[in-house]
Assembly symmetry: C2
Homo-oligomer: 408 residues x 2
């Protein structure tokens, strides 16, 4: 960390949701993930009621914990969130709803906070009765601490291979503030089970309207560019808790301070989103699609998402096959008015299509770029000045295996 | 075939596009599929100018042959179609457009018909320069005959494992009329290369407006329920040629005769659509999704398509995993207002979910139903009286292999 005023968000060593001041977290193994003693219960709490906001799945089939948290977050305040993995508590009827309420109130009581300030989330298999007894018995065993963030990040994993944590720090109005987050998600295009759960903590003091807007903007630039809207799962939850422990006046929308904060929040969310894409089920590589020359940000993002969502692009990258026709075809399917005869396509540094047609390239070099741990596809629509970015991963036999065998 | 008046379309033995009176077809090997002597050029011609209509891809990136055929079909008339496989002639610029024109005019000259009446289609890899010299040299070697339909159906195959042909016959106004079709397509959710090409022939005499409407209706009930709109390829083409050889008055829209004809046309298109789904790349089983209790036909079809398009449903079926939560989740993602608490789900004959929640079932029986050559999923939204049907296949390691290795 450098000294003095820094507007560019800086990385934080050993990042976790407990990196910002005044947050504690912890985890326990409650046996929700049956037959294992893996961590499956996580709790994140702030030292005081926070300005809070949350964004949920757009799927019409909604998990019980989403129903409960959606109701509670209306107040714009929260102080903690309890999360389990191993069972999504979705498609579980009235029993599931009662279980979600009970899970939240047990956690609130354990922490000695107002029950209405405890959010709740679940992730795992859908449609299996929720083991509320085990969860209620497990919650009191969680002992949240100021360095318990890593345990919490592990406890929310399902098919994730690695925990996902990120933090950034910036100076705002002479005060050092930290934004941190954890996430779980397999990042595939048709997520199944509460694919995305992410908790963002910050010690910044935020004006409530500004918190809502900032979270929406960050989500649009990050998580929504990994998991296409129509493919959200019944439990997707992204929650922000801002405890204000850094002090100062509340940051207002439209100010320089808000822009600096947004930069840090975006950076955390984008890093988590990229980790989700990289850890996609069966993935061997991260793919980043940059679309330039779009008429609007919305159009650029939509085209980028369409390319990243194409099974044929994903398999071509897996096979290191410079099949740019599949990329152009996906561009044409985005539902955005484009002129194919203007489109340039690059894989890595190499241009492979110019004005919508073949451009001579060195197949060996392109194939090498497609074998990199991070594959970059750049599409220039040559229509305007807006751009959009999306992340995903290749589609492999591993994905098929994981998802053909998940519950059995 | 029974004698007397029959309104129910009957199957035709040994079906092909030359089953209706007055059609000839043939094929040749022109070397477009490099390094093989497989058939790759097909020609279908009628004995006279036909009432014709065609439906094309909605992708904004459009193959050269689509541009040419789209222009020609505006007249509502055509007499033949020439098709090649092995190269989609898409993303090939001005050269590709000239090649498509040249391919069509060569075929018209060879057959001695008006050049404006020859349609043209291409299927295969995208973005590779089109070998027009080989195609122009190959066309005169095609000798269309009244029993050449099977050769034509073979010549349009790309990754298809089997040729796809269907025919039905019905009596209309005391005359026996036949509707037949051939199709090629790998039937996956993100088709790449001119995934669908289908030619429908009939000796019925159709009024032009009626032909347009009937083809649109048949496509919506069949091909559009295999390949989701946004995933059409740059070359998708469905063409109908009606030569009127059966005689009688032209069939008008809104009449009993039109309904009978529609029944035969729908049956042919649905049989071809099911064949495409069954022959999906890497597929081991055909999946049929029946959605009932929808408020509108459109909603029912949309929900059915969303379920069939879900990678997670496809992999679950491949793994014979009765993971109905994935089905309900897909239902919720269709963008159709549904009430999850009303939804019933059946796999085969077994109910697996009732009112959006778990319904006890015999896992062995369900797993067996999921292993059948044809897997039936039935979803009752319990909202209205409309229904929709869609077809697809499971997603397997084989799909990944085929598409990771296609052009290399």
């Amino acid at each position: 960390m450098t000294s003095g005023r820094t507007f560019v968000p800086e990385s934080v060593a050993d990042p976790s949701v407990t990196s910002p001041k005044g947050f504690r977290a912890g985890a326990a193994s409650a046996g929700v993930k049956e037959g294992t003693n893996r961590l499956d219960l996580a709790l994140v709490v702030a030292d005081r009621p926070c300005v809070a906001h949350a964004i949920f799945t757009r799927c019409r089939v909604v998990g019980a914990t989403v129903l409960v948290s959606r109701e509670r977050i209306r107040s714009g305040r929260a102080q903690g969130i309890v999360i389990n993995s191993g069972n999504a508590n979705a498609c579980t009827g009235q029993d599931g709803l009662l279980a979600a309420e009970s899970m939240a109130s047990t956690a609130a009581e354990h922490m000695g906070i107002d029950p209405s300030l405890m959010l709740v989330a679940s992730t795992g298999v859908i449609g299996v009765p929720f083991p509320i007894d085990r969860v209620v018995a497990g919650i009191p065993r969680i002992k949240p601490t100021a360095d318990g963030g890593h345990d919490a990040a592990r406890a929310i994993m399902t098919t994730d291979l690695v925990p996902k944590e990120s933090a950034r720090t910036v100076e705002i109005g002479g005060r050092r503030i930290t934004v941190a987050g954890m996430a779980k998600g397999s990042g595939m295009i048709h997520p199944d089970m509460a694919t995305l759960i992410s908790v963002i903590t910050t010690d910044a003091r935020l004006e409530p309207g500004m918190a809502r807007l900032a979270l929406k903007r960050a989500a649009d630039a990050s998580f929504n560019q990994v998991s296409v809207d129509r493919d959200t799962s019944p439990d997707d939850t992204l929650a922000l808790l801002a405890n204000g422990a850094a002090g100062g006046d509340p940051i207002q929308s439209g100010t320089v301070e808000a822009r600096i904060f947004q930069g840090a929040l975006d950076a955390v969310c984008i890093e988590l989103a990229r980790m989700i894409a990289r850890d996609g089920e069966g993935a061997t590589r991260l793919i980043q699609v940059d679309v330039e020359g779009a008429t609007t940000l919305r159009a650029g993002r939509r085209v980028a998402r369409e390319v990243i969502a194409s099974n044929l692009v994903k398999t071509a990258i897996y096979g290191r096959d410079p099949n740019w026709g599949r990329i152009l075809s996906a561009v044409g399917n985005a539902g955005v008015p484009i002129d194919p005869d203007r489109v340039d396509i690059f894989i890595g540094e190499q241009q492979v299509a110019a004005k919508g047609a073949f451009h001579p390239f060195d197949a060996r070099v392109v194939s090498e770029a497609m074998g990199a741990d991070e594959v970059r596809i750049r599409v220039n629509l040559n229509q305007g000045r807006a751009s959009g970015c999306a992340w995903g991963c290749d589609l492999t036999e591993g994905y098929v295996k994981i998802n053909a065998e998940y519950t059995t």
